[in-house]
Subunit: 365 residues, 4 copies
């Protein structure tokens, strides 16, 4: 029933809270012999860091990754890798005022029921989006492993509030543009519109959600399982473990419900001795297994629940309805920061399944 | 890495194939002392049975559930419950013709890669939707356990192809109408339109997908976990293990991406000494925990991949592109049959988490 | 918390009770392409069958293994393998008389507490040694897989009651003699003495325990893990899951406690380009990993708790001390029947770890 | 396949190496509301610290436990608890000399095979007994939880080399004497003899093993499971995860092999409205479940493999036989330090099973 671990061959165990001492990740099952330094992890971590643009929270998380185990002489040893960031620049005072008044849209109320009031309510405790620091650190390692099999994970923002990316983008545009703009959208024109929308809504004291699309390229056919450990189910599970996610779909997704079979089926053809499909409505997964086509998924994020507007809530001690108005520093839209997190989660699942089938070996040469 | 088991406190292990001898389920962790007979399981099984209407496959699966272990004197003993149905009325001949020519939209191709050609390809083998017989049998037990805590799971079809339920329905309508029509929709007028659409498309030799909405009522607040074993992640995982599912969303789901925080947040109020929310955009889950509000999710199904039209595929032996036209008996739309399966999956996850927290005790009085 | 499954890459799930309809095993993770028939399983099953000699219970278990899934055209498909035996020749009447009077040495009393009296008490229900039928069937498959890497598991009885094997035996003697005598001892002279002792004690209405030694040959170095999934810990866990086991030791075992380091350490030398040790006090395992030397373990079995003598017990309903005298048919010594069970358990663990490391591939050619 | 976690409801995940930066433990599933400070953990940690007596290694591990997560305002929050000690006073130079020359009795050789030479060989890396620091820290928490149900775990040394405790001791003697002498034996006279023996053998440059006996008092009947997650199997598994353990037995253990059933069976009687047994050859476990009697087990430790005498080994690079003589500081007998480790492991397993059955609730008042 351990709820803080995920993965079987490549497993992540998380610890830490938003306003505690640290957030950390234990990665077990990383093959031995992978070059790994704190810079590798820092690079990914910096992608999700707030405070790098006008549209993210003013809390300055100078997250400095420290590797505590599992690496020797610059190479992974096969032992569990512990990597940690200390929490800095934490201001917990605002949370004292609302500790018995659950914030709408946050986990405060069910957490209070679940943990009998003993939960660390500062900044959402272990329910905070800050836990995704751990996912990102583990994802940094997974991404390095994917390179060994020439696979790659590419995510970007395709919708923020009412602004939706109106056209297809190329993988090259994603690679080139995503981390060049504050909203992590591969199309720069759309990125500008999204950023303007976020700023506008932020001024109103309100917030926005959005959608991240993620594509895994180069994943060989046959990864995954039928029945319960299917590739899509494992991807969906970890994606729903990202705070604020409310929907996940693969390929044509919810649209497939409107298609006829003849429209939705991806027909097979031979292409340079490879079996490919003419379309990819399946999003690269059939029967829980990868097809060799790009694995495509979309992840819906709700708007940041922390808003500056007055809201109704209850006083859990006095058992009566009250109103609150949240102070504190919050992202008006967490979607841009979720982009590297989605990539990390997808990379971890693919690595996990690739190791299970021996496609990534336990010792790297 | 065992991929045929799911759940921790209440665990399901599946076995069997579409055209093998049987399909079966082992349910471990069912509390002792629950009255359980084959009738209880048969009742649920009959809900997913094809051959009960004009719109489902003509294969007559007279699925007769047999309990092989775990029940003594009409009560569960606490030991693993094995329940099985034998496969009857199986016609495997059509599959010989296409065994090296993967059917578009089916798992045939990646299964061939994964299992080196040794997979049982008849009727899709273990990738067949027939495995959901096992889910349904386990779900029958889970539903009985939910009654012990006055919880209930209600699913129905809200979309088939282009026909979408245009209005809200009451829980009472769901309870009353769903199994009174062939498409399992709670609104009878919409049901008629859906049925007509299915028949029309079936005549064309084509198929349709759709969306099932499921609501879990009476689930107490605080079920689930933060981080990895969150309630929504566990629900999503099992739902994506239903063949043909391409999307899952909770509450406002993908729509939440367009909302502002002030629109999406569900504000709390006291109502007769209970904490409730004014809206339920969260779909009853915050931070991976149940809120005590109805848990609401929607599940998108792609159209049945087996269609009677000519399709492109490849000959895996000769490594060249070819065409196929499938014979055999297939549902033009599997969505209606998925309704009890979705209910079963949701019931299992809730029971699993309720047992973990001791809300359902290990011995029932 | 599912307690009826074991193994990760090669996993066994059990179901069934002593006097229920059947005992069965689901084996998940067996590589595809292994030739497998019911005869393969029956051969192992026959080794543990009672009724084959004067010293075992008169219950005639004509256990006929039936494969229900996972095999097609005589080869494993990669899908879960279900194999089952029906229970026959069951006489449950004696158990009615003692259902509230726990038998000394049996699980009756703690089972009553654990399951609130709902447990199937006939023949010990799921606590019966009969569950080892499932281990043996799974072991039959594991042994076939071991052959693929030229590994082999050899067990035999080295002690029954006061009679201990007084000398070393060769692997050849084990292979040749074990199933040629009723007590499964590799030395025929000792076997005669053991058999005489069993018959003598049986006449007294009493029973005997003993020790099984098991050696795994041909296991390559490096299998297992440090920390928690070590090879010895996984072996010990499954061995203690055999009913009546009270002790497990590897190599020098408890004797090592009396040795000095200089006596106990196995020194390394090169032998025909292989690293070997001069002694094998480690029993082929160091740091949780196989060393490449034979893996040697001994398993202590208590005497059969079912004896024909009068014993003190309690009436759980009337809450008072009473006496019982058991009827029914029981082995005066279960050790001989445990020999193939021990082999099966050891084979399963080695296969599980070999698959995890890719030493046994997921698809066999 | 994650090999660095154990336990289901109360789970321990380990990280760190002997000569790396730290050794740490993540404890997941600890109920919320338990008072917990670093002092609680330090107290247990100090019990296994070397450098406190003449007979243990001169390496001064000033292990200072730091809690990094899961505790707020002095109480557990229900979130994963991370607790860590930094490694100090580490001298890795001796290990460079022998990095390609595996030390007899250590994991060096199979670790080299398993991890392709990338393993951290300094001080044995993750194979070092130092990992038991993590077990002890987790055990400190488990012991506090056991107090909540009035249960207690008591271990002591009953044998070192040839010196075996010649008599029964009372629980009171164990509680009083164990941590008052350097060998952790409850009988002071025996303790003196053991200490003399250790000093004598240490002077010879040699080492000794021994046996630890552990008793769990106050464990209610019915804990555990039949089949695979039985209480004895789970205890055995974690005990074999302690480096140097070569044997585990419960109750009469290996001796039971020599008993007749009439001698070994523990007969039941009523005693002040409780069901008890007249003897306890079962060691408090029948059928994988606790009986309510004291749970008694003995754990055999091999002598410390690090000795100062010349030994044969191989040069793995040059592939030839060589000799080595180890420098470094080593315990001539690790048994005394294993005493609190055994207690910790036993406490963790009992807590894990008590939480699974709801006997220890998820929120403590």
């Amino acid at each position: 029933m351990s709820n803080n671990s995920i993965g079987k061959a490549f497993a992540l165990t998380c610890f830490g809270e938003s306003h505690g001492k640290c957030v950390g990740a234990i990665i077990d099952g990383c093959p031995a012999g992978l070059p790994l330094s704190e810079k590798d992890i820092q690079r990914e971590l910096d992608k999700r860091r707030p405070g790098v643009s006008r549209i993210t929270t003013k809390r300055r998380e100078e997250d400095i990754a420290e590797i505590l185990s599992g690496v020797y002489k610059g190479l992974t040893t096969g032992a569990p890798i512990c990597v940690m960031v200390l929490n800095r620049d934490v201001d917990s005072r605002p949370y004292e005022l609302i500790k018995d008044k659950p914030r709408p849209g946050h986990a405060d109320y069910p957490a209070h029921v679940r943990y009998g009031g003993f939960q660390d309510y500062r900044g959402g405790g272990q329910f905070s989006g800050r836990v995704t620091v751990a996912y990102t650190m583990a994802g940094a390692i997974a991404k390095k492993l994917l390179k060994k099999i020439n696979a790659e994970v590419l995510a970007h923002t395709i919708q923020i509030g009412p602004i939706r990316l109106p056209k297809e983008v190329t993988y090259e545009e994603i690679r080139k543009n995503v981390y060049q703009n504050s909203v992590r959208c591969a199309d720069l024109e759309t990125a500008n519109a999204m950023e303007a929308e976020v700023l506008k809504v932020a001024k109103e004291g309100d917030s926005l959600g959005g959608i991240v699309e993620c594509t895994a390229l180069g994943v060989p056919a046959g990864l995954g399982n039928p029945i319960f450990d299917s590739l899509d189910a494992d991807l969906a599970k970890i994606l729903f473990n990202i705070p604020a996610v409310k929907g996940v779909e693969f390929g044509a997704g919810f649209q497939a419900a409107s298609f006829k079979g003849s429209e939705n089926n991806d027909q097979f053809v031979m292409q340079e001795n490879r079996v490919v499909t003419l379309t990819n409505n399946a999003g690269g997964i059939l029967g829980g297994l990868s097809t060799g086509m790009p694995i495509v998924m979309r992840v819906a994020f709700k708007p940041t629940p922390s808003i500056a507007l007055k809201q109704k809530t209850v006083d859990l001690i006095q058992e009566r309805s009250v109103e609150i108005k949240l102070a504190g520093r919050h992202d008006p839209c967490i979607v841009p920061r979720a982009v590297p997190v989605v990539e990390s989660c997808v990379a971890m699942v693919i690595v996990d399944h690739a190791i299970r089938l021996g496609i990534i070996p336990m010792v790297l040469k």
